[in-house]
Amino acid sequence: MKTIDLRFTINGAKERVSIPPHRTLLELLRDDLQLIGTKEGCGHGECGACTVMLDGVTVNSCLVLAAEIDGRSVTTIEGLRSGDKLHPVQQAFIDESGYQCGFCTSGVILSTKALLDANPHPSDDEIRQALAGNFCRCTGYTKIFESVQAAAKGLEGDR
């Protein structure tokens, strides 16, 4: 089978792969790189469970062809912590119980990180809009909003 060669940065590390051209970014992450923290909830770009950051911007990795990441930088849930220290967004979601079953959580965390990177002091409405692409069926979102607010405070303390 014909393959294509890609060079990219994944969670800060340089990576090279040779893969079939029809691979999606989600398949590349889960099947080739064993980064299984990113989940497939629908495969249609509707649920947000597969959200990752591509050059700092959130994308649904099920809708991105792996070929598109050549020369670019991808951040997944596995890339947030440094050593044993959790990222402030992760810590905030623990402290505020911002998830239950955990399946949508990686995507929610990445969307939160992208929001707070761009807008360190979001309003309630901005939080709701920023997370409108991530379905959560467990929490009813209230504790997610509280987690995002706590994360904003936590990041402030980090600066």
Binding site: L86, F135, R137, C138
Partner: protein, 781 residues
């Protein structure tokens, strides 16, 4: 309470793996040599399968096998079962057609499997499934209850004439008719309870592995009750005997009922793994989830309530038609009967109740328990009827409820249940205070000046949880007992493993169960780990559904702890040379009351395992098991108050406030309870405002993707104001009632009552989408 014990909002022990992407869900697991399954599914709602030609598919790259429903029959694999026998009012057993895991002859809903392709990769299996040629001879289909019951309607199963599974009743018809004959007022309402699709964010998945040398199967699956799955697969489907089948439900990404059932795909994966002598993995795509996960609700009802001249309730009469879809799923038969009609008394003294329920087959996806399961349908019906009555009789809705509340306990309803405790005035008062009920007329008037319609709706719900006393459910037709088991394994160093038959798929059991154990001994929860979800580790269990894990599962843990503590106490008394009664347990130590003599729990554990100095005749070790069978259901109850604004120009509803005042008995971890309530409210509000499965007249599911099935997103929901009133549950040692379903049970009626109050028009069905609300205001008023 200690800082980590009962009542403390401890952050969850399971959080770190979920927050770092290290949760291990079924689809994350890979086995050596694994193959992938993709099912060939019917595009027709009703058709005869005249033939299947797999020759082209078998030649495609990577294809290992194509297996059909006929081969399942040849291998004597059993049909899917319904585990709860319901008898019609004439005494006849329910009329059920067979449900084969893959249809050999006839398909009866869109998405039903007829064959499966096993291939080296998921995409190869998917491609080859497209190449399987199935010769369908289409038959006329019925997709609604009305169409299924029409004269001359197409018949689904020869066993069920008229498409009727059962015609069941509960209560005293003659007494109820007499109450209506003598009533001063009768209020009536017709309403539907819309069909919902559960949509756990993790799609169902199964990995089956067959070890030919040992003739042993392992199934990794997305299950809320792995032991029940193993029992059913062994006892009814002829897959393998229980000791040759291990079922593992690892991290499971939400269930809401939809992962209780043993589905065709798990059966076929196990069977296929033996056929191809390699592991077989299947993971649903989202459209398969929409088409094949058991749906919920789908009732059409007529309800009437009789009142005396003083507005006291005299009687309730209900006739409900319940849509079961094309086949009877595992617990489906119990949902619109014993989980529904037994709750029709609500929080009220209603001297007599009579309800009839007809279960109906249609060419749609099977319907079974979904969060709340029968109780949301009962509460929606009753609370819309009570609100309608208040408006018709021109009395304050809160006052009408108060006048009829049950206030003495235990209370025997006319529909089986005996409520053990509750304080319905307290929860209603709490809700009304939180929402400023007294100030509402002024707010409504102010909104009117802005051109906006403001409404306030109440819903005083009750549910029966902690299912259930085994003897009671057995007498009502259940095929299993509904106890729970627990095992306490104390290690020689004094750490504890709690093995439970409950299963956590988001509920946080690894934390709450540990809190209960830690509290009893006064040790940190870090010294306690909770083991669940594996039939090789936990001996048996009935699993998690019906808000039963705390009331039944934790009660089993307490019972096992009591046994373990009794033995530890004997060891301590022996070594300290005192009487057992003199020992108190505190801060991880067994102390002699009034002295400084004590033994650390860890040293007692070590003594139990070294066995150098134990009381005469005592066995070594420190491990105890308990099976807890509840003495009654539990009865969580509460009052919900929704305040909304409706824009008359667009029909759009916006929440101003949503108050939930719940009585769950003792709270073990308030933070987790809040999360459970929030999630339930979101699903109840989703049902009220936006969710609904839509079939066209030919049985095609129109809402088979997130583009078409509207689920609440972050921007759609209000923040919730939660209050708690507490009556400790007297029926179990934990004092808990259960909190997992309340939100989904109480929220829909409060929301719709608020909208109908706003628009001054009661002709509104769920989901109350803007176009429906607009039509209610302008079109059909």
């Amino acid at each position: 309470m200690g800082v980590e014990g009962i009542g403390a909002s401890v952050v969850r022990k399971e959080d770190k793996r979920f927050i770092t992407g290290k949760g291990h869900y079924t689809d994350d697991i890979r086995l050596h040599g694994m193959t992938y399954a993709h099912f060939v599914r019917s595009p027709h709602a009703h058709a005869r399968v005249a033939g299947i030609d797999a020759s082209a598919a078998l030649k495609m790259p990577g294809v290992v096998a194509v297996l059909t429903g006929r081969q399942l029959v040849d291998d004597k694999i059993g049909n899917l079962i319904c585990g709860w026998m319901i008898h019609s009012k004439d005494g006849s057993p329910m009329h059920m057609g067979a449900w084969p895991a893959m249809a050999p002859d006839t398909v009866r809903f869109v998405g039903q499997a007829v064959a499966v392709v096993i291939a080296e990769t998921r995409n190869q299996a998917r491609d080859a499934a497209e190449a399987v040629a199935v010769d369908y001879k289409e038959l006329p289909a019925v997709s609604t209850i009305k169409a299924a019951l029409a004269p001359g309607a197409p018949q689904l199963h020869p066993e069920a004439p008229g498409n009727i599974v059962y015609d069941w009743s509960i209560g005293d018809k003659a007494a109820t008719d007499a109450a209506f004959a003598g009533a001063a007022h009768v209020v009536a309402l017709e309403l539907t309870n819309n069909r919902l699709i559960p949509n756990a964010m993790e799609p169902r998945s199964a990995i089956a592995d067959y070890d030919a040398a040992e003739d042993h199967y392992t199934l990794h699956t997305t299950s809320q009750n792995p032991h029940v799955a193993r029992l059913v697969l062994s006892a009814f489907y002829n897959i393998a005997p229980e000791h040759k089948l291990r079922v593992i439900a690892p991290d499971v990404g939400g269930g809401f009922g939809s992962k209780i059932y043993v589905y065709p795909e798990e059966m076929v994966a196990l069977w296929a793994a033996r056929k191809v002598q390699r592991p077989v993995k299947w993971t649903a795509d989202r459209t398969e989830s929409f088409l094949t996960d058991a749906h919920g609700r789908d009732h059409v009802s007529k309800a009437e309530m009789a009142f005396d001249a003083n507005h006291r309730m005299l009687g309730l009469r209900v006739a409900t038609l319940a849509n079961f879809g094309a086949y009877m799923s595992l617990f489906s038969s119990a949902v619109p009967t014993y989980l529904y009609a037994t709750l029709l008394s609500g929080q009220y003294v209603i001297p007599t109740i009579y309800a009839e329920v007809k279960g109906v087959y249609t060419n749609t996806t099977p319907v079974d328990a979904y969060r709340g399961a029968g109780r949301p349908e009962a509460n929606y019906l009753l609370e819309r009827l009570v609100e309608t009555a208040a408006r018709t009789l021109k009395v304050d809705p809160a006052e009408l409820r108060r006048k009829n509340f049950i206030t003495t306990f235990p209370y025997q309803t006319p529909v089986i249940m005996t409520y053990d405790t509750g304080d319905y005035h307290a929860s209603l008062d709490a809700a009304l205070k939180a929402i400023d009920y007294a100030g509402f007329p002024a707010r409504k008037a102010a909104a009117r000046k802005r051109g906006v319609l403001r409404g306030l709706g109440l819903s005083c719900y009750i549910e029966a949880c902690g299912i259930a006393p085994s003897k009671a459910v057995g007498s009502l037709g259940a095929g299993v007992g509904l106890w729970e088991s627990a095992e306490i394994r104390v290690n020689p160093v004094g750490t504890i493993e709690v093995l439970t038959g409950s299963h956590s798929h988001g509920q946080g059991h690894e934390t709450t169960f540990a809190q209960v154990v830690a509290e009893r001994l006064g040790i940190p929860i870090a010294q306690v780990s909770v083991v669940h979800g594996d039939t090789d580790k936990v001996q048996f269990g009935m699993g998690t559904y019906g808000s039963r894990s705390a009331a039944v599962g934790i009660s089993a843990v307490i019972k096992a702890m009591e046994k373990m503590e009794a033995k530890a106490r004997r060891i301590a008394a022996h070594q300290l040379e005192v009487a057992e009664d003199d020992i108190v347990i505190e801060n991880g130590e067994f102390k002699v009351a009034g002295t400084d003599k004590k033994l650390a729990f860890a040293s007692i554990a070590l003594a139990a395992y070294t066995a150098h100095n134990l009381p005469e005749g005592m066995e070594p070790g420190l491990k105890e098991t308990a099976f807890y069978d509840p003495s009654n259901f539990t009865f969580p109850a509460g009052a919900y108050a929704a305040e909304v604004e409706v824009d008359p120009a667009t029909g759009r509803t916006t929440f101003v406030n949503f108050v939930a005042a719940d009585d769950f008995g003792r709270l073990i971890n308030p933070m987790i309870v809040e999360g459970q309530v929030h999630g339930g409210l979101a699903q109840g509000i989703g049902q009220a405002l936006m969710e609904g499965a839509v079939y066209d007249g030919e049985g095609q599911l129109v809402t088979a993707s997130y583009m078409d099935y509207t689920m609440p997103r972050a921007a759609d929901l209000p923040s919730f104001d939660l209050r708690h009133t507490t009556t400790i549950c007297p029926s179990n040692p934990a004092g808990v009632k259960g909190c997992g379903e309340a939100g989904a049970i109480g929220a829909s009626a409060a929301t719709v009552n608020a909208i109908t109050d706003a628009i001054g028009n009661n002709r509104l069905e769920m989901p109350a989408t803007p176009d429906r609300v607009w039509a209610a205001i302008h079109g059909n008023g």
